[in-house]
Symmetry: D2
Subunit: 343 residues, 4 copies
């Protein structure tokens, strides 16, 4: 069976795995103080054009969002996010577990507009009752969004500008960052993106690593005692090398971007096939996740041949279905899918 279920069905990209194998026997210091972690951080700083940035490695996306957002917020502050944002919906209340409200605002195709944020903030500070309301403390967006869509450079710049006006850090969840940056519709570079936010993470788990996310505090310092906060969340690996070595591999010879480009190439051909088949797209995604609305019968028919994800129910007889590509998607997979579709 061909799998388009998600971008974490396969293990690590072979080059990443190779580095783990090569370095396995070396005796390295623990908790992220090893030389590979140091080298990886340096390469990431260079790639982001942020020579002074603090970089840390965490294990997964929800964990990263929890630790970073929790550390950036004061006790009575909350984080502004799109109503469809990962932290708003799919993280089992990880942000609330740290005591903070997710201030969920309306969004379109997964995107939060500068206008919506501005309107909320204006209302918040106009309304005399704000002493009894959670203070906004951080703005969270995903790039690409949970629906595979992208903010344009203009949109990001506007968001950045509203955040600056209200002295709110802008934090970008880049669980699938590479798939955004290598999308044909992307009009921004990694350094430009880094320059428009206060913190973001470069997703490894879904872009070729076994696990791991790299948090970048652009330009400024990480929150005080950040390593201790990571530890306090149970998020500090004794064998921190596992993350350091993988990110060192991902940021050597542009591997991260190569993996992303390959997945995007595959995704564009996948999208073409889905379009040719006449499927209705739930949203027009230029990245590695494609969402289509399928009838229950069609879903049943496909199930025998292809692995995909049921995203959510659309109506009584349809569901939104997700197809995703990754480093592991092959030309052969695409060819097989085409055959299944043409039947």
């Amino acid at each position: 069976m061909i799998s388009f279920a998600n971008d974490y069905t396969a293990g690590a990209h072979p080059d990443v795995l190779q580095r783990l194998i090569e370095t396995n026997a070396e005796a390295l210091s623990g908790y992220g103080t090893d030389t590979y972690s140091a080298a990886a951080k340096e390469k990431i700083r260079a790639a982001c054009g942020c020579p002074g940035a603090d970089v840390y490695f965490l294990v997964g996306g929800t964990q990263t969002n929890q630790v970073v957002i929790g550390s950036l917020l004061d006790d009575c502050e909350g984080v502004i996010a799109a109503r469809t944002g990962h932290i708003s919906v799919r993280e089992a209340g990880a942000i609330e577990y740290t005591g903070h409200k997710v201030i969920a605002l309306r969004s379109k195709d997964g995107k939060l507009s500068a206008e919506t944020v501005k309107e909320y903030l204006t209302g918040y500070y106009a309304d005399g009752g704000h002493g009894h309301m959670v203070y906004p403390g951080v703005v969270y967006i995903s790039y690409p969004t949970e629906y595979g869509t992208l903010y344009s450079k203009k949109e990001l710049t506007e968001l950045c500008s509203v955040c600056k006006e209200y002295s709110l850090p802008l934090y970008i969840d880049g669980a699938r960052l590479g798939y955004g940056l290598e999308s044909p519709e992307c009009d921004i570079t990694l350094p430009e993106l880094a320059g428009l936010c206060d913190a973001f993470y470069i997703g490894g788990t879904k872009v070729g690593a076994l696990c791991g996310e790299a948090v970048v505090f652009t330009g400024a310092k990480a929150p005080r005692h950040f390593v201790t906060k990571i530890k306090q969340h149970g998020a500090l690996l004794a064998k921190g090398r596992l993350l350091g070595v993988q990110f060192d591999a991902l940021f050597t010879d542009g591997l991260y971007m190569k993996i992303s480009r390959h997945a995007i190439d595959m995704a564009m051909r996948l999208k073409e096939i889905l379009a040719e088949r006449g499927y209705r797209f739930y949203v027009d995604s230029p990245t590695n996740q494609q969402f289509v609305i399928l009838g229950d019968e069609e879903i049943e028919r496909l199930r025998g041949w292809v692995d995909f994800s049921i995203w959510e129910r659309y109506d009584g007889s349809h569901a939104i279905v997700r197809f995703a590509t990754s480093w592991a998607t092959t030309e052969a997979d695409i060819a097989k899918l085409r055959r299944v579709m043409e039947e």
Copy 2:
């Protein structure tokens, strides 16, 4: 100046104060184990028709919501509430501070419909992704709502029924309970309301007490170690008598309802005056809070004569304004307001 700013501008109802004075010198045991607390609990059980109910006294409304909801929820559960609910908006994130999400659903005139809750729960359990989403653990409503509106017996029965279907406790915030029960539009009795929910509180602060709310766990037991949980929240008074004596007074000779009825009488006359003046009501409230949409000039003009609350901005030149009555509102206040309005 006449004050309609809110229902907590004056101190305690004279009869409540009188009981505090009379009992002041008595040596009573601490932390709510005194005889007045015991007597008050017994009277509340009788008034609610719940002879087996666990009753506890807390100091304020936000505190009560925080302690009760936090105690009813398992770690990864959240509380369903109207988007305009007090816990969703005006409690500075007190629920999130205890680690739980407020699952805010759309509402109309402050009310959450059984249909909306049912639709959410159906979607939640249909969607395969619910293991990554906060589990719904309690349903919260306010009676009356934050906009002074009331649920009908039918609406409450329907909500109760959805909650039972999904084994979710229904918890009612009765910060202004008396003003609901004594409203001309109320079609439910206190025992009936108690019978339709799993826990609720009888608001004292806004209905004649200096402070204090009485939580009733109808029929069932309070959460395990509930007194310790109250203590853990810093909510246990050493001089628990302060709450016991007041609630004993409020539930002697129907004082709680008398206070409520008086405020409702005043409110209905207030409403009439506002209507005669031609004000546009933001919502049609049958209780002690009246919301009207006033232009900024009118607000300026009134300010010199009457004290009221700016609830929130309505648009660029109007605001939603709240007028409220309480035990302290007098016929003379109403007469003065009429004169101000007739000018």
Copy 3:
């Protein structure tokens, strides 16, 4: 029966109650913004010799400790306290509930020495592993302590000095502050005490009020958004006047100190009686709480005549028993106790 059970068996001191009665009908603004709260704060600033201090009113002691300590600590910091401190033992984990560790150090007669704190801090910063240990963020002491003992000015100065050396705020729990300041052994004034710490609270509940504690941030500002943090803990009273009026009364014409002095006078005579009876003191307390070790038979005999508290078991046949005085203790009570003891 005569009661020496504790210092919260009676209601408010008559002068405090009188002020509540006199002001009851006034229409005052809510949430602590009333004129009595403002006046009381001003009087407290004057009494403390801290004209620039931020002063806030909270309802009870555990709540005050929870809100203040929680607000002063960064996420991965804990509070240093005596192993017998109220926050270490008797507050149902209120500090931990806010996510912070109580770093409990050894103590003697309820007191934490500068030497012990210094030794801990030296060890902490010497040990390379501190990144995996909770950072010390605040030092907490009680004055008087939970065993009625007092720090001398020298001891407080030394503690203050260690705290300054490590940039740690020193916070004093003054639940029974007046009983300390009016003790014959006290060698410090209120302004001196205020000058040696960063924050402290003046206990009302146990010194003549129905409820209420006044937090003083000496010299410096309160933590950011402090009112919102109070609200977030469910600790903000709608009728904030209840606290403002009481503290206004307590700090008018030296009432707070008069109440304290009376209780101390009674306590010193109580102590004399207990000593004459030949009881063994568990600790030598110069304040309003006296702890003696009594055999179970003696406890049984006394129970019929006097109300006191069993503090904790001492051994198989003895318990530590507490006798306390307050504003409500009378000469007649003392005389009766003497008779009971002489039998």
Copy 4:
């Protein structure tokens, strides 16, 4: 340089790594629902003699303690632990971060005795004040302890018995479980240990894996919604295979025990060398960690040749130093160490 710094300096045991390589390309379902995770769980159940046990994989030890203990405790409960326990000291307050107190009791050589626990519980329930104290909710011990020592079967049985008497779950931190079970002094089998506790974890990170710990809820079910709680802590891996495959390898053909035995063999020879050199042992450890008290000069001398850990200061001129072995320790390392020592 030879490394005895800790048991996580090298990567994965070659056989574990081999399995990761072999399975890397397979498309597997996410979040721990893959076939390798299922197989590993089955093998663990068999090895523990608990056919009905719920088994879950987590990433690291602090995380595991946090998620498991937090899930087992009610809101106002705390966890009893040795004062030297990992959760008491070295986890940056991870337990407190979830709102729970660590009730730290005195210990000897890292061990908590049944007698100490019993004494605490007797005092707790005898003392009338327990409603204001954190309820004990779980007992935590480490096997081996943080000082490498072991509980005997008799000691574990006694602890188990006290826990049962007070209906408290006994939870064992097995970060280095294998090194305990394969110690020459161990008098208990894995199934016996499983039978004496309610939950424990089998440490992978320090026994041959890159990361990963396996939690076993022996006989009973895991806490409700446990996967969602894992997610809520940010502890659920998208590529759950990383843990499943490694534990599948570790529990195939007794690899986990083989790795442990090898490290123990090396540790016993290491211990012999340290003894011959005349070093004073801080504690007599029969497992893979050896603690000796070294003078600062000796530490300086050794540093050039061997990598070890400074555990904590012993006095002004000595420190407690840790030497550890693992799967990666070789005969050659031991031989080199002997030569260094003989110089």
